[in-house]
Symmetry: C2
Subunit: 215 residues, 2 copies
């Protein structure tokens, strides 16, 4: 399926870096452990807050405290996710770059008020970041649910930008430049689980955490 | 030195997570390989773009193409940097969290026009991300310099937020809950350099890259 590109999400520069399918958008959103949510504050100034998200179909959810002003009302937002894959070292300073996959989703976020959708969103966020924990941990009670605000943003207006591969200045090699150039890969790594010190010594890391955490 | 907190950068929630010294701000900016730059577009909607930055004293610089509309003029911006340090798995879904260090810098960004400051900023960005490359790679020529826009943002109005440590629901242990809880560390790792395939086989990774890249 193709992404629906609007004037706001059509790249004006480096169009060859634009991915145009929903699968690419989903993959970036699903891999990222955090997103940055942009909004315009009461004085008209931009504000960018890091938060955590999850995608369910063609909607991305973010959650936070009901007391957070940023989540209080329906508003225009921009949700951006960036996966840094490498530092690109070129022969020229000018051609230095980064390998990355980024997604920008723009639109009007709505505050989720339906109890079923609210629960679905919370579950999605927990399972996105810490698979298996929704069934392992104690579920939110009424007070905790009320204290958690959820925003929903449709993926209707989004763009994905990707840069991969070696440095972009090979013509300098052809011209006889033997300077080293290449890519230093960047990865996000999960380490071995560290058990909460408040627990008794005989409580061990459960299987569902071992499967995705580091060793 | 203390951070100068204004009404816009004083945390309204979770104030215990607010760091209040410039050293903490500098450390977060200096460790991060990328930032997210928020601005308000011509229609009053928020836009968040990933980009790369470097700090020089009490100024943070970002750079991009002179053709990028986002860098064209002096404007209000919000530069946010987030270092994710861990996923926090609690006994209750509600207490799930993340360990992180984040910085939010707000203010009016100015376009750098002074040639010396422009060069200083470019050098700082290159050396921040790929130490040693400013002396290794070919420096920008007149055309390349003109094609590169630099924005400067003073660190005068900034906040730093930090969460560290184990899950925040130990009272559930005291109440007899033996469910596992803990932290899964998250780290950003640099891999072994991958030489550009356009280079002859006898060109090897230089010492200044080996010192900071992975093995």
């Amino acid at each position: 399926m193709s992404l629906s590109t609007t004037a706001r999400t059509q790249l004006r520069r480096k169009r060859e870096r634009q991915a145009d399918d929903c699968a690419a958008l989903h993959a970036v959103l699903d891999e990222a452990l955090l997103c940055h949510l942009g909004l315009v504050d009461g004085d008209g100034a931009p504000l960018v807050l890091p938060t955590m998200h999850a995608r369910v179909g063609e909607v991305v959810y973010v959650h936070g405290s009901s007391g957070a002003a940023s989540l209080a009302t329906e508003r225009e937002v921009c949700l951006t996710v960036t996966l840094l894959d490498g530092l690109v070292l070129a022969r020229s300073v000018f051609s230095h770059s980064a390998n990355y996959r980024s997604a920008v989703v723009r639109g009007r976020a709505r505050r989720v008020t339906d109890p079923d959708e609210h629960l679905t969103a919370l579950r999605a966020v927990v399972e996105h970041l810490t698979p298996g924990q929704w069934d392992h941990a104690r579920r939110p009670d009424r007070r905790e649910t009320a204290a958690t605000a959820v925003l929903a943003l449709d993926l209707a207006e989004a763009s994905v930008k990707v840069r991969q591969g070696p440095p972009g200045d090979p013509e300098e090699v052809a011209a006889g430049d033997r300077r080293w150039a290449g890519v230093v890969p960047v990865t996000t790594v999960l380490g071995a689980p560290e058990t909460c010190p408040a627990l008794p010594d005989d409580v061990t890391v459960p299987e569902h955490v071992r499967t995705w955490a580091g060793g």
